[in-house]
Subunit: 210 residues, 2 copies
């Protein structure tokens, strides 16, 4: 099993969205869910430490494929530790299936646990912070007016500025519905409400309501 | 009176903390408070549009003196518009006195209005976003452990990492007490509670409480 210190070296020194503090929160949460759901802790731990280890840098070019890069990287690391091939494959499935926009859905309990732990860090107070930080990295505003078309289809009209508020409207406000495990859904309720309240207040202030 | 479009050109194209969207929110809020409190609207408007117009860039070297740079810049702009000297001086006082850490406290009603409008954008949902954005610009974490010494004195122990949570503990959690006008205090109550709830939840999540 890779140590925390080993894993730290795989991540950039500073990344406000996919930095090592995110990995540590996901690890902690994944362990909690894995215990409650009876998942294989070793698989879950390795997958949590490795899930963003290659190509996940915020704003980086490889991001859209980072689940595959990280799964390949995981194979190298765990082979060097002489893990049996079927357990390496189990970790790789977790990593490949951790993304919303990925091409592989979580099948194993361990993959569901990692997916859920990762998504719980998208809602709540850190979810708010990470979403807003993404704006800063990309030079987007925190809030911009959302078109009727975007509201219905998630596709912006020409010239429509992207913002965290758009992310909230189309994806973040409904994360809870995408979680797999009962344990995560329970934890997610408070965090989803918290995030939704945040973006509703942001909208109120952006509109200049007093 | 400078127009919105004129004023837009004085501010950087993107600044997540002191950008033009901040100026527009402060202008809107300052007008509202000015009307409720019976302040001189023209002075307040000019001061709001000009208050961060020179040297206020987030992370910039001139930031600590930007109230003076902006007051000087205001003089040039308003002279060119043939404002009478005493009204230019009134605008300049508002601008010089808008900072917490400034050397000049707000004396006139107009200066109190600008101060309060500016501080209301430090709390609430945009206050949260701007504080977190400052972390991203400075490469600080959103949350780091706060020492006993910092809790008591606001001075970090050697090696203590700065974070938004530190800003909350020492300054942001008590902004409401620093506001001058009744109107702003009333608006600030909800926003102060909102910001405090945010940072308490951030702390809960950072500690790994589930």
């Amino acid at each position: 099993m890779p140590t925390i210190e080993q894993a730290r070296a795989w991540y950039p020194e500073y990344d406000p969205v996919h930095g090592f503090d995110h990995i540590l929160r996901v690890l902690h949460m994944a362990e909690y869910i894995a215990k409650a759901e009876g998942a294989d802790l070793e698989i879950v731990r390795a997958a949590a430490l490795l899930h963003d280890a290659s190509g996940a840098e915020t704003g980086g070019e490889k991001r859209s494929e980072h689940q595959h890069h990280s799964a390949e990287f995981a194979k190298e690391i765990l082979r060097a530790e002489s893990w049996p091939p079927e357990r390496i494959a189990a970790v790789q499935h977790c990593i490949r299936a951790h993304r919303f926009r990925g091409d592989e859905a979580p099948q194993s309990l361990e993959a569901k646990v990692l997916f859920d732990a990762d998504k719980l860090d998208v809602i709540g107070a850190f979810g708010v912070a990470r979403t807003l930080a993404y704006d800063v990295v990309m030079h987007w505003p925190f809030h911009a007016a959302v078109s009727e078309q975007f509201l219905k289809t998630g596709i912006k009209v020409e010239g429509e500025t992207h913002s965290s508020y758009h992310e909230f409207i189309f994806k973040l406000g409904k994360i809870i519905d995408r979680l797999h495990t009962k344990t995560a859904k329970h934890i997610g309720e408070t965090r989803q409400t918290f995030l939704n309240d945040y973006f509703r207040q942001l909208d109120v202030e952006a509109r200049g309501e007093i």
